[in-house]
């Protein structure tokens, strides 16, 4: 009985929580470890420290092209998804109208549908419409899967928003646009930037949809996928993967800090988690 009590009071749970964190992080940490190892195969014992796999990266034109493409796709997709997210999140949090829940459910649906289904169904329509596959079609696909995340971040940012501030501004003679620019926007700016960062990260890392919807151009995950066939290229892939991991980590940390600031401003807890 005491053992049971101790279990529920947190002692063993704390141990479990730390083990769980190790389980979450350990696999990911092997990428950076072997990316600075001299041996070309990832195995123990480690043979020595080197940065040569990183130094080789900028000498690969195909990789630089892929990085550039990823950047273009990521920026376009995050801006478009955030714009569409702002409209929808504002509508959901500010207005009450019939069909609101259904529409919201539809917009959030890509979050829980198998990616392969989204990818092939968009592919079919795009080919039927005669669109040639390119980075543009990848952007279209990425916007669809980014909107739910953008919505989650933005609705949390918009929700605790005190509407009386806008009303006060209007009462004091500010126009609708002026109110938006001078009252609403400063309040929700952190949430908007947070949404841009989250969407950029998702687009940067997304593989399946990009793989199906691209023509001849590659993004970074597609480039990595192509390299995985060659065992000899693995260290370079590990180095590139490490850089991507660091990029995602930094972007998401900044997004989280901004999200919390947004939550504090509008006195509203929650967000990506709640």
């Amino acid at each position: 009985m005491t053992a049971m009590r101790r279990f529920f009071s947190g002692g063993w749970l704390t141990v479990y929580a730390f083990l769980y964190i190790v389980f979450l992080y350990l696999p990911v940490i092997f990428l950076p470890i072997f990316s600075i190892n001299t041996a070309p195969t990832p195995k123990f014992p480690l043979t020595g420290y080197t940065l040569k796999w990183y130094q080789d990266l900028p000498k690969t034109p195909a990789l630089l092209d892929a990085a550039w493409n990823s950047l273009i796709v990521g920026i376009s997709a995050s801006v478009l998804a955030t714009l569409l997210g702002i409209l929808a999140a504002r509508s959901i949090t500010r207005y009450r109208y019939p069909g609101r829940r259904t529409i919201n459910g539809l917009i959030m649906a890509p979050l829980v549908l198998p990616e392969i289904i989204l990818a092939i169904s968009m592919l079919l329509v795009m080919l039927q419409l005669g669109l040639s596959l390119s980075l543009f079609t990848v952007v279209l696909g990425h916007v669809l899967i980014c909107i739910p995340y953008s919505m989650t971040v933005l609705t949390a940012g918009f929700e605790g928003f005190d509407r009386s501030l806008e009303e006060a501004s209007a009462d004091l003679g500010e126009s609708a646009f002026g109110t938006f620019r001078r009252v609403t926007l400063p309040m929700v700016a952190p949430a908007i930037i947070s949404s841009l960062l989250v969407c950029f990260t998702i687009s940067l890392d997304e593989f399946v949809i990009a793989f199906f919807l691209t023509g001849t151009e590659t993004t970074l995950p597609i480039y990595i996928w192509g390299q995985l066939r060659f065992a000899a290229k693995l260290p370079g892939v590990l180095a590139l993967g490490t850089l991507l991991l660091v990029a995602s980590f930094v972007l998401m940390t900044v997004a989280e800090i901004l999200r919390r600031r947004a939550a504090r401003r509008t006195q509203n807890e929650g967000g990506l988690y709640a």
């Binding site: 990832p42 569409l84 539809l106 890509p110 549908l113 990616e115 890392d205 995985l228 991507l244 980590f249």
Partner: protein
């Protein structure tokens, strides 16, 4: 103003009333969401309808025959290869969602009940690996489980095994391990949210009335958090059925899943209608499985009360 404007016929209105309607909440709200709504209609609903339509057609080399047929579904449901792939995908996704939920529950419980001031830090720590590239996380399991990989070389270095084991990679267990790891954070969040909503005074009341910690957990906390468990199970189960990357990278021959067959129909095999029928079948079967999970968890919840 809005309550009056809503639900009234649009015909024969005076100008003033039409203006009132235009300014009403419903119209403004709908106008604001319509671009996003349209986007989802064009790139989500329309494509799924097109897939649905294709599944009833046939393809003859490069031209599509638009006469209605159920032949694709006959192939999808009776050809042993597709039936096996579908069963395996279902089995893998069920196993994965079972393990992710079982492993995630204690963590969610710990953060909710013992997280204290550091709740959001814990949540942040747990979600960060999830935000890194899915492809890279799958790749790291390939590095770990491979013949010349981390686990084999590590175990050999410790003298536990003499030669590398080939049993680690390229089978459905490797797929299950990788997916369980990849979806961990997705299961924690909904469970955490539902645990946060559990009224702590109810747990106290159960303890005051003589229930031990285990009994009060089983009779109060667990049933009250069932909705979170349910959405965690669904949020993992539905997308993993259609996973493409993991089986391709770590599954080998034994770990191939239905998504790989669907991809083949749109790639090499180039039989779109069959690929469409396989997609629709997968969606239907997933929906059935999700529905069954809802019923089972609701029944268990009632039983616990």
């Amino acid at each position: 103003m809005t309550a009056a404007a809503e639900g009234q016929p649009v015909f024969g209105m005076t100008r003033a009333r039409r203006n009132a309607l235009l300014q009403s909440e419903s119209v403004q709200g709908f106008a604001l969401i319509s671009p996003t709504f349209l986007y989802a209609l064009i790139l989500l609903v329309l494509p799924i309808l097109v897939v649905f339509a294709h599944s009833f057609w046939t393809q003859d080399y490069l031209t599509t025959d638009h006469t209605f047929t159920l032949e694709n579904y006959r192939i999808a449901l009776t050809e042993p290869i597709y039936r096996d792939l579908l069963w395996r995908s279902l089995y893998i996704s069920l196993t994965v969602s079972f393990f992710t939920v079982i492993l995630a529950y204690p963590i969610a419980y710990f953060i909710s009940f013992h997280g204290g001031r550091h709740k959001s830090l814990w949540l942040f720590l747990i979600t960060i690996p999830f935000w890194t590239s899915y492809l890279l996380r799958v790749m790291s399991w390939k590095v770990i489980l491979g013949y010349n990989g981390v686990l084999n070389s590590g175990l050999m270095g410790l003298g536990i095994i003499d030669e590398p084991s080939t049993a680690l990679l390229y089978n459905s267990s490797a797929v299950i391990i990788t997916l369980t790891h990849a979806w961990a954070a997705f299961a924690i969040l909904p469970i955490f949210v539902s645990l946060e909503k559990v009224d702590r005074t109810l747990v106290e009341a159960a303890t005051d009335l003589g229930d031990g910690p285990l009994r009060s957990f089983l009779r109060v906390t667990l049933p009250l958090s069932a909705p979170g468990v349910l959405s965690a199970a669904l949020i993992v189960m539905i997308p993993t059925v259609g996973d493409y990357v993991t089986p391709k990278l770590v599954g080998g021959k034994d770990g191939v899943m239905i998504a790989n067959a669907i991809q083949a129909q749109f790639g090499k095999a180039s039989n779109w209608p069959l690929g469409a029928a396989l997609s629709v079948t997968t969606m239907l079967v997933v929906s059935l499985m999700a529905g069954a999970t809802v019923l089972i968890i609701r029944a268990l919840q009632r039983l616990a009360r």
